[in-house]
Amino acid sequence: MEIYGLAILTGLFLLGETIGYSLGKLLNVGDVGGVGFAMLFLILLTNTKYWNNKVSDKTKLGIKFIGAIYVPIIVAMVLQSNIIGAFKGGLIAFLAGGIAVVGMLLLTPFLSKYAKIKK
């Protein structure tokens, strides 16, 4: 049933967040990659033979549905972003954020080339 998929997703999500927040508490910060851990668990689960052979399509549909609606969720996220705040910060904010993102993006091909060699 679809609700099983939702329940599994929520379970993994909360498990990941628990680890993220526990790690955060240990290091005295907020959340250290809770979502990342949850994603890792979901990937581990859905790559098992059990998942592929035994779990019903309807259960899978529950997770796929949430994965599919993330596009509108991102649009809604942008709808409530603080665009004015980005301009108000003036030149310092624009250069600090701008050069950081451009500089890091330019490094991408070199690092991903290395990732390919590794395999």
Partner: protein, 252 residues
Amino acid sequence: MDIIKDLLTKNGLIWACLVVGVIYVLAMYINKYLFRSKLNTFTIAMLIAMAISGIVGAYTGKTKGLADIPIFAGVGILGGSMLRDYAIVATAYGAKIEEIKKGGLMAVVSLIIGVVGSYIIGVIIAIAFGIKDVKDITTIGAGACTFIVGPVTGESIGASSEAIALSVAAGVVKSVLAMILIPTLGKVLKINTPQAAMVVGGLVGTTSGTVAGLTALDPALVPYGAMTATFYTGLGCFLCPSILYIITRAIL
């Protein structure tokens, strides 16, 4: 009129689905007739959303764009961190474990380079603009990581409120630019494999920007980029107020 207003406020979340749906349809038609389907519908929807939240933000003077208007508060729930994080986790469905193993080491390396590199760039800009206080300089450096790392760092080391505001602005600029630059530069930068997406997530960090940018570029890459990006803020919140602050203070 009052009935409609009440209904929309009461059903905020599902009403937000209609709002986003209308924006999406609009984006589709703009793409079809103005750009002959050469652009990505999602990119146009995102630009429309940015324009709306910018205009509304200028009008209300608040920070949450369209969600600051009471009848559109549901947009804040639909696009808020709870559903966003839940949905991002769900995108991991179908990601291949072999791809992650292949890119794992470089993802860690890119995370460290991403946080430290962004921090250094922010620090240099802050110094170039004549900011003297080490705490303020550190906070702006942290803001160049993400708009969460900035204020977290600033508050924990006791920076001025101006520096904290600047750091948030720097992080927001980074996020917005990532949304635009990742899809436009994606081909040139060869962001076309899961491993490259993991590297982008680690280098750029800012989850909102990376996820929105990768969606516009290629939705199949989203899980890989999102996964590394979600570790970025945590790593930044850990490194900036501690090790990086101490090193910066020692140098200056």
